[in-house]
């Protein structure tokens, strides 16, 4: 395939220049929130017949290479993998390396996210086995992409956007390889038990339903039935057993640590105070926060406020950690609806507590679902690398243009009732509040509050929130004022960086339209 064929750029509804074609496929420029509504039928996998599968239910084959051959692996196919084992995953590389041994070229790797430990995929790209990656690229792989070294164009999607692309046929998965901490020989898979337990396998669910072929890879084979069957064996073609699917130390952290940075603690406390004073913290409310240092500290402040106010949540959204598990066990929430599990307490809780529920992006984030529950969450606390005066935010690139993070569920979470970005106002002298974000990932109209250590800025579109906190002691300030203060502290605005004129990746909006381009770094 031609290397990044010359493509026309068009201006989308967010005012960003985006390519009309990516990896040979025509693209729809972003039209606005909730504007793009494709019709027709959803994609579907080929019809299969139970008679073609062993009556014994035993779908085991010798190894991954055999499984890939049986799936008919050939040049140019799409192989998918998932990041529920996070930086500890061994299966994705195992599959890609097996493909390399088979001798195929030009694969599209379709991970739900890639991690630094998978950086040897760079060699597979250099040798031609992988043509390009569509999926979040964390660390070295993102760097490789923005250096312009990847042959095809990177496509960055949210967790929900990945479902959307699979369901509306934008991406057709030829072979899905699912790492299973526990599985039976029929192909039922569970993530919450086994030596490599990770919690939920939700990221692999769409692939198991829509891929042409599905391979389950496990290091903990149990006799039928594997319960719970988070992935149903009825969708699985082959089962492969290996010694180890991942490095347990990197799958979940033993303990997730609350930040000790005074500034970050202050941000976390301000977020919790905002929820309290804005009246969002009330009986039956719901919230979502990640597993970063600020988010964890936020949960511990919020917990104290919930106890003081005698308030209980109906549900909290994972990624779960021991701090969410404590809320559940102390009766401060009825449920944890968990997308992924970050520490051991989370994994154990999901395995043992029926109120700690594994979810997938289908229920939480999917654009082609008949609704999804992201919009039912009262408040979400997110990070960002940059935010501009109009509350537009970036979460994938740094100000120097390097692609270093994935979108994850970030874009999908913007649908919450109150979307809060909890960010320091500057990092190492580099202001976080900028004139224009390097890469647009979230339209400002969906971002309601920016909380920094220097004050809280409410989006002027949310007069209701402004009114709600009127008379409180919160340091509410215009975002512009915080921005100017930080520029004064940092000794002026940073120099404007020159960017390359070649798009190396696109950022999709949750509906599959192109929200922005990531440019080659010069």
């Amino acid at each position: 395939m031609a290397i990044l064929e010359k493509t026309e750029l068009v201006l989308n509804a967010a005012g960003r220049m985006v390519p009309e074609i990516a990896n040979g496929r025509p693209q729809i420029p972003y039209l606005g929130v909730g504007k793009y509504k494709p019709d027709g039928n959803k994609a579907a996998p080929p019809i299969r017949t139970a008679a073609d599968y062993p009556e014994s239910g035993d779908k085991r084959v010798a190894d991954l290479e055999t499984a890939l051959r049986k799936c008919g692996l050939r040049d140019g196919m799409v192989i998918s993998s998932h990041h529920h084992l996070r930086d500890g995953d061994r299966v994705a590389l195992m599959a890609l390396e097996a493909a390399a041994r088979i001798g195929v070229k030009d694969l599209m790797w379709f991970p739900s996210a890639s991690f630094p430990s998978q950086k040897s995929a760079i060699e597979l790209m250099a040798s031609g086995v992988i043509e390009h990656i569509e999926g979040s690229m964390n660390g070295p792989l993102g760097d490789y992409c923005t250096q312009g070294k990847m042959r095809g164009m990177g496509v960055l999607r949210s967790h929900g956007g990945r479902w959307q692309a699979i369901q509306d046929g934008e991406v057709h998965i030829d072979i899905a390889v699912i790492a299973a901490p526990t599985a039976d020989s029929f192909g039922n898979c569970d993530g919450s038990h086994g030596k490599s337990a990770c919690g939920s396998l939700g990221f692999a669910l769409a692939d198991s339903i829509y891929a042409d072929h599905v391979i389950a890879v496990t290091d903990n084979l149990v006799p039928f039935p594997c319960i719970p069957w988070q992935i149903q064996g009825n969708n699985v073609d082959y089962v492969v057993t290996v010694d180890s699917i991942g490095d347990p130390a990197k799958i979940v952290s033993g303990t997730t640590q609350i930040t000790r940075s005074p500034d970050r603690l202050r941000i976390a406390e301000l977020v919790a105070l905002f929820l309290r004073d804005a009246g969002i913290l009330r009986n039956g409310f719901s919230f979502q926060a990640g597993a970063g240092g600020i988010a964890l500290a936020f949960v511990s402040y919020l917990k104290r406020m919930m106890k003081d106010a005698g308030v209980k949540a109906r549900f909290v959204r994972g990624g779960s950690t021991k701090y969410l598990v404590e809320l559940l066990e102390e009766g401060l929430t009825d449920y944890i609806l968990d997308g992924q599990t970050f520490d051991l307490s989370g994994v154990q809780s999901m395995a043992n507590n029926p109120r700690h529920v594994a979810t997938s992006p289908f229920t939480s984030y999917n654009y082609h679902g008949k609704g999804n529950f992201a919009s039912l969450v009262d408040a979400v606390v997110l990070g960002a690398t940059e935010v501009d005066e109009n509350f537009n935010a970036n979460v994938v690139t740094h100000s120097d243009g390097r692609l270093l993070h994935g979108i994850g569920g970030w874009q999908n979470c913007l649908a919450a009732g109150c979307t809060i970005l909890a960010v320091p106002s500057f990092r190492d002298r580099i202001p976080v509040i900028v004139d224009q974000v390097t890469t647009l990932c979230g339209p400002g109209e969906l971002i309601d509050v920016v909380v920094t250590e220097r004050g809280i800025a409410i989006n002027p579109r949310r007069q209701d929130l402004m009114d709600a906190v009127k008379g409180s002691k919160l340091p509410i300030r215009p975002l512009q004022e915080i921005k100017s203060e930080v520029e004064r502290i940092c000794g002026g605005k940073p120099q404007r960086l020159k960017r390359g004129d070649r798009p190396v990746a696109v950022v999709k909006w949750v509906d599959g339209t192109v929200l922005d381009s990531v440019w080659q770094v010069v």
């Binding site: 005074p262 500034d263 603690l265 202050r266 100000s399 120097d400 990092r427 190492d428 002298r429 580099i430 250590e453 220097r454 502290i489 940092c490 000794g491 002026g492 940073p494 120099q495 960086l497």
Partner: protein, 404 residues
Amino acid sequence: MSAGIETPAKPAGEAGHWGADIRSDVHVRIEPCERGGIEVALESRVKPYYGESIRRQSEEVLEALGVKHARVAIHDEGALPFVIAARIESSARRAGLGEGTRVLPDRFPLPEPSARDRMRRSRLYVPGSEPKYFINAGLHGADAIILDLEDSVHPNEKDAARLLVRNALRAVDFLACERMVRINQLPLGLEDLEEIVPESPDLILIPKVESASQVIEASQKIAEIKANYGITRPIWLMPILESALGIENAYEIATVTQEIAALTIGLEDYTADLGVAKTASGAESLFARQRMVNAAHAAGVQAIDSVFGDVGDVEALRVWALNSRAMGFEGMGCVHPVQIAVIHQAFAPTQAEIEKAQMIVAAYHEAEQKGLGVVSLGSKMIDAPVVQRALKLMARAQAMGLVR
């Protein structure tokens, strides 16, 4: 001497820190040369954003210092401009350059002078050699920030920390916090005053004070510098008593000058002086603390307690602080911002105290209105000191935002 072509004029000087774990600091090495002008080699983690600005600033600072020929190596870890200026000046001075010249960053408008009896419940210690802690120190709501030049600064870093703190007093907005500096024990502390006093700190802590004459020495030096710079606003003093002798002389020390706003105690050194262990209950320092409280009150200055070192143990801090208030202290030191709220809560009057004081104050006003000489509440007569205490408590409660 080496036979090199460019013979160094003087040995090189360096200051600051760099490395993967260092943040908001910069390392500068200046090698004086005979000729060749200024040559700056810059490495910076913010180079794409502020590389030009750092170069420009280094040239300006070197010019102001009168450095004409030098090789300058800068390893920057995202230091703010006031830090970069201080580090360049330090390294130049260490290379024997720029003697007697100060390169001062733009001055942020000075806050209102502080009152002698202002509220001093919490004072947050910030190590004077760690600029990363400076910039947001004021955000955490402490009554005061102490930029420390003494125990938290390595003996080899005293000169450099002095310039960092000086520049911070000019360039950093400490918001509503009283701006305090802890100088070194005299006579080194007198050198600190040379750099610090021109920047009008609100209060100076003098460590290890054992006699009134030490306070006089510092006070005279301050007066001299203030006169030279035409500074009229007050700079209050807080002697730190850290030995048995200091405690014995507490009253004399507290009354030696009107510039003294408070006495405080350093328990690490005090217990070391006694040769006893410092315990959680503080039994070994009970006498010293009571004695100091009594001396301070007799002298009409505030009594401020020591710091509580165990950042992890919030509950023990609460117990200590409540006890501290009960003993007559008006505040404590903090080594981490998480301690501030706990201390403020402990030093706040309780709701019951406020209600009782409100009734007494109301009765007092009523008696005044009626021209009665005696204040009474119900059938009880209220003594004048009780009224005074109630008035003071209400003023404090008001300052803490507990009553309207």
